[in-house]
Amino acid sequence: MNNIVNKYQIYILLLSALLAGCGGTRVVVTDEYPIPSLKKYPYSAGLVIPPEFSTYIYQEARTDRGMKSVDLGAAQARIIGNVLRGMFATLEQYESRPESISVDVMFEPRLEAFQYALPAETSVEVLEVWAKYAIRISDRGGREIADWGVTAYGKSGEGFMSNMGSIFAEAVRVAVRDLGANIILGLPRDIGFKSWLDDQGAELTP
């Protein structure tokens, strides 16, 4: 009797393991990112990060890709905060747009698209991640300076017996860092923001 119970316990364990494998990979991304080393603009900035942005989880609709979800929210909120903290003299963070703006310039990012390609779907042994953001930038009076588009790209190599979750998390980490780099390099080149900087009499690059 004991033997039969043990046998069934093993079958149940094996079946559970197989079913767990069918559930797809959940990707959790680190939210530890550096604050950039830059010469700061002498202005105060505000950043609106609503909860739906900071807790965003991408859910894979297709069942044939082996992926379940990508927990992107904390990472994207952290990098944008860190980058703006490195670019401006001060940074105030809000969960929603305040009624009266007490900072020189306000940033409101939103995620517009998130895509990925698995190594099995491309001809190369890398996993690629791509995301598109738009950042609404407004001045102290609430007037829109720009609605600026910025992209993020990251890739990670597929190693021997490597786990899909960790490769994916690595690619997203690289993409999130790329988003920060793109903001630092691209923002001073945006016509609307450049013109606002000119009006303030600031240097063009941080």
Binding site: K7, P34, Y153, D178
Partner: protein, 223 residues
């Protein structure tokens, strides 16, 4: 019979055999250096190629291997974070002139000075599976579980290493490392992996040559 199978499973689980891999190292020394004890070395991976990625674990392996020999090594993560965003794949300097441009930023110069960074070792390349063959099938049934078949695959590594002296603004050494090995996975009831550690061999090849360079030894090829 059951006891024999049990013993087979236990012994296979405990043993991972290592297959052979061959490494070839070539070096082009442009200058020799005498390393000052205070000078730090950073090992960084190139990630701008579209079809491959220099592996983070390979770069970390090289850095740790060099560091074991008493050289002062700054990790890729530490340097990339300190100089963020200037070493991100999109904007990392490909040529030494671009590095000079980057270092002209006072904030970057200040952080580099604080770390005593003098030499940057760039590693560019990857390890890929170039050939695979064979087949294996596994089955689970009441009272029995096992696999039967044979899998064979070949891994090839190719890495180009470039060493920059960022104080003198010049490239001082180039190393080329290639490695190859075939792994086998025979299975009669239990799969027994015989793995060729190609990436690890390439790591050892790169680290040995970099260490030999900084110690001022004449070029040697690892076996």
């Amino acid at each position: 019979m059951n006891q024999i199978i049990k013993n087979l499973i236990v012994s296979a689980g405990g043993v991972v055999l290592v297959a052979c891999s061959t490494v070839r190292v070539e070096e082009n020394r442009m200058e020799t250096v005498v390393l000052d004890k205070t000078d730090a070395i950073a090992v960084l991976g190139r990630r701008h190629g579209s079809s491959y990625n220099t592996e983070y674990d390979l770069v970390s392996c090289v850095a740790s291997n060099i560091g074991h020999d008493g050289l002062q090594v700054i990790s890729e993560t530490e340097l990339s974070d300190e100089l963020y965003p200037w070493l991100e794949p999109r904007i990392a300097p490909i040529r030494i002139e671009a590095m000079l441009y980057m270092m002209n930023r006072p904030t970057v110069r200040e952080r580099l000075n604080a770390m005593n960074l003098r030499y940057v070792v760039w590693v560019d390349g990857s390890t890929q599976t170039t050939d695979q063959s064979g087949s294996m099938s596994c089955a689970i049934a009441p009272g029995f579980a096992g696999c039967y078949g044979m899998g064979i695959w070949t891994n090839e590594s190719g890495y180009e290493v470039s060493i920059w002296d960022i104080e003198q603004n010049r490239e001082i050494d180039q190393i080329s490392v290639s490695a190859e090995g075939t792994s086998y996975l025979p299975a009669i009831v239990v799969p027994i992996p015989i793995i060729a550690r190609v990436q690890s061999s390439a790591c050892n090849g790169i680290a040995m040559q970099v260490k030999s360079y900084f110690k001022g030894e004449t070029g040697e090829t690892p076996n």
